[in-house]
Symmetry: C2
Subunit: 457 residues, 2 copies
């Protein structure tokens, strides 16, 4: 391995960690896996990124870009050792909010919520809101193509990235896209880089489309006797012409867990709950939307529908959904947490089959999530101290992936592949498709230094 | 060259043209340039496409996919000879309109307007509407990432492509994307292929996102004393929180030409006109939108604002914009027609500078187009029979491109690069960026058989 002390000459001695304690601190993410890097480097600017990449390319040192390390699939873990390139210290500024063109230009280390707050203070709106919004960074969001609660109406990160600056593994700086809605000159490098999990280039600047902040929003909740009627309501409602901001779902196991843990008075006979938000600038639009949603929910089996009267009630309604992830820990100390996504019309059948997998293995698989876009957080809960139970859990996950693929769905709606889902890529992609991914990787990174060994490549 | 008669064994004798008359018929597109292919092949299905590509790859025969041949930049012209692969004869069917997931699945040869009509008959909506909508195909639209009048509110083709099937130059079939809003497994091959001008893979099936058809729409027109006040109104209006469907523009030269040719009573003192559409499901929304638009227009200098009372009046208002392209022929027999795009806030300065270019060279450069997304059709009009005038025209175009790039804009908002704009790529991209494009091309098409010599690669 090259002499990593040389990195201090590039970024300054304060911006390189080589000591064990710090290296361990940067060896984790939200997966609970751990891989110790050989160095952690904090670039001060794009030029630093370029010089560090040149160093790595010359010396064949693996390098892994890292935002907040809040990913669920190990995308920011240095599984091959080498350098962790961390953006939290310097490259974390909002560079410009361009009101005239409704665009924000930010460095990769900006925290999603900081951007949201800043643009909302100016009457603008950045919709992508992954559950990690309070700590995850825009660089990470772009690299994973993050989704969130509001994707049903507004789309996901890729729908908001207009332009990027990035550094290729050879150290060359490139720009892609423009501060314009339309740009068809050259290949769509922006589209290629979004969701590429930090394996193709290191993003150094992001230009994001902003919207006007809707003046009003309302929250409602439908209660269903079973999962199937809830799931049927999702696609029937969405196909009726209304576009809610969010259409979130909790299954019976999740409802029971929330109630057991927080005692908030959810109905005991509920087999499924849908939480929905609508927004707009006029009261009448929200009323019409909620009327239609209630009609569709009731038509498809809802036995109760409640509209929040004020923000406090809205918060109460959202409480169950927001705390679902914590609550389900009652079912097991280890959660194998996936984010499969199927076409909305396949939700009823998919959820039914997931239930059958749980029954077959005698385990609990509480499901909740972004049903409005077919994106279900499936949580296989097992006793983490029992290796047999964990093994069974992973068997169940494999079946869940197979069901998803058979339904025309995808292994991941939001979290990416990283290390955690790499073994399952073969279930979803043919040899020709995997070969194409490898060719694309090679086109950007011929020496395979940038976040190597991810995505099953 | 390989024996092209072999192609008859693959697709059947009826689906190969080798005779001169037919070859000439497929040597043109909307650029007026001409390159004769050696064969025209009409694949019956994806398997045919795969076998033809295998033949081409084995024999190193260039192959160029072709939709309607309505492109403005020569993207479908066989500039290196070889095979034109035409989708109009067989692979032109709408395969499915999935009402439950609001998705259409179509073959590449489907005409844009046929799809629009079909989905609208079911209450759904496919927004991308390039000016060629009556004849251009979805395959061509995806390959060029086509825009249109409604892009201001709804976005462009890339925003609607959820999934693709395609054949790689080696004949391997790949699928990319899903019938879901979210899919982050593997690289974003859909994003990479959209706008790749048929140089990376041959698209054989397209899955498109559909919306609900808005129930109401209204048209209005603002009249301005000069181009600058019109252009200022565009970005001031867009930044005020209203999102019109369309925000189209005509400059003074265009207005004069339309009036001279059609005598429809446009005000003689108009220096700029903006035509705008708004849509929605409730009358009140349209009214509020138009109120705000009128206020912003007048604030920024409009001396007249007219709302169409009915569809006939709306059609009248749109007449000037829709016939602008024909009308400006009064300024010269040859039109050098570009579709540069700049950030909206740069429109006033950009148009002013384009005017200065016209003055400098003593030529007319009427401008009109999609000002709501900064996309201006600039038309350098010269006497096509005078080689000196044509030369001057191209000098003016070069300056127009330089101004656009200096303003942070792009060489093309809609039409692509193809052959026509290839010489200007170096003005917009660095060596490193061009090198990256070439690497991407090589990753998909190592033998450079698929639409070679396009995009300046």
């Amino acid at each position: 391995m090259a002499n990593l002390k040389e990195l201090e000459k590039i970024v300054g001695v304060d911006n390189v960690y080589l000591d064990k304690a710090h290296l361990i601190a940067y060896s984790y993410d939200a997966t609970r896996s751990s891989f110790k890097p050989d160095a952690v480097v904090f670039p001060r600017d794009e030029k630093d990124v370029s010089e560090v990449l040149k160093f790595c390319n010359r010396n064949r040192v693996p390098i892994v870009p890292r935002g907040a390390g809040s990913g669920f699939t190990g995308g920011a873990l240095p599984s091959e050792g080498g350098i962790v390139l961390a953006f939290e210290k310097h490259m974390n500024r909002i560079l410009e909010i361009d009101m005239e063109n409704m665009v924000a230009i930010v460095q990769p280390g900006v925290i999603n919520m900081d951007l949201q707050k800043e643009v909302e203070s100016k009457g603008l709106f950045y919709p992508p809101d992954p559950a990690s919004e309070n700590y995850s960074t825009i660089g990470g969001n772009v690299s994973e193509n993050a989704g969130g609660m509001r994707a049903t109406k507004y789309g996901i990160t890729k729908d908001f990235v207009m332009a990027l600056r990035a550094v290729l593994p050879n150290g060359e700086v490139i720009r892609a896209g423009k501060r314009t809605i339309k740009d068809v000159a050259g290949y769509n490098v922006v589209g290629t880089l979004v969701g590429s999990e930090g394996t193709l280039a290191v993003i150094t600047e992001v230009t994001l489309k902003l919207l006007s902040k809707p003046k009003l929003s309302k929250t409602a909740m439908g209660i269903f006797p079973d999962v199937e009627s809830a799931m049927r309501s999702v696609f029937k409602t969405m196909a009726s012409g209304v576009t809610p901001v969010a259409m979130e779902f909790l299954d019976a196991l999740t409802i029971r867990a929330v109630e057991e843990k927080y005692k908030i008075g959810l109905p005991k006979n509920a087999g499924g709950i849908l939480v929905t938000d609508v927004d707009g600038d006029l009261e009448i639009n929200l009323e019409k939307d909620l009327e239609l949603i209630e009609a569709k929910f009731r038509e498809n089996g809802a036995f109760d529908f409640k509209i929040a009267k004020d923000e406090a009630e809205a918060k109460d309604i959202w409480f169950a959904r927001r705390n679902a992830s914590q609550a389900i820990s009652i079912y097991g100390s280890k959660k194998i947490n996936e984010d499969v996504t199927v076409p909305r019309s396949k939700l009823p059948e998919t959820l039914k089959k997931f239930g059958e997998v749980g029954e077959k293995y005698g385990i609990q698989i509480p499901c909740f999530g972004h049903s409005g876009d077919g994106n279900i957080h499936t949580n296989v809960m097992v006793d983490g101290k029992d290796p047999k139970a964990v093994e069974i859990g992973y068997k169940a996950i494999e079946e869940i992936f197979q069901i998803t693929v058979d339904m025309g769905g995808t292994l991941s709606g939001e979290h990416g592949i990283g290390l955690a889902k790499a073994p399952y890529m073969k279930m979803a992609f043919t040899d020709a498709e995997m070969e194409l991914f490898r060719s694309m990787k090679k086109a950007f990174d011929p020496n395979n230094i940038l976040n190597p060994n991810k995505m099953g490549l």
